[in-house]
Symmetry: C2
Subunit: 140 residues, 2 copies
Amino acid sequence: MAQYPRLNHLAIAVTDLDAALTFYRDALGLHVERVEHVEREAVTVAFLPLGNGESEIEILQPTRDDTGVAKWLAKRGPGMHHLCIQVSDIETTLARLAAHGAELITPQAVQRPDGTRYAFIHPRSAFGVLVELYELPPSL
Amino acid sequence: MAQYPRLNHLAIAVTDLDAALTFYRDALGLHVERVEHVEREAVTVAFLPLGNGESEIEILQPTRDDTGVAKWLAKRGPGMHHLCIQVSDIETTLARLAAHGAELITPQAVQRPDGTRYAFIHPRSAFGVLVELYELPPSL
């Protein structure tokens, strides 16, 4: 049982995933667990587990030009895109954030098909960092 | 024992640490273990442990205008500054990176007073990410 909120993942956005893996896997020595195309988010994602595998680096390559990630990349170039903190109770966390005046991109948590609930906090409230929150379903 | 290289820390650079902690601690709910002034790097750092405490977010506020972090902040504004991956053998990792043509800011690992050895990889080689490597001494 984690003592503190856990880093679920740190997302890095790139335009060329194969080239990025040549660096992160072959040169840096990280392990690539799997590469997956996520149609609903229009990204191909490589998952690179860290530590005991409960946190990971996700390297994202957009597969369309009209998504948020693609536009971010076109404007800024590749780099760290967002970090995702896993909390035990996303509703309580969102309520506390709202009470502190934080700007929420998704004021209500959204549920994925696998039961994971997520929300995004705007970088304007998080000192330049796009912060995602996850609450995993009990089975994960 | 970690199965994969561990995230030692993710560093976020800000100009106002107190304001950043109002968000990250009070609103988001992360724990602040300690705040420390690191004279040799001219930063004040808040350490926010994640998960089982083996990884952390470090929020940095420069205390002088002439450092790399201060210049980065002046140019880009607050945000994710670097990530630090902890490896078991920094020499082997640096040799492998060099063999792959990665641009190393510190081609030789540098040792801190506590025995930690570190090196930085240039963001040009790491798809826009400033990557730090750590090898901790056996006692840590």
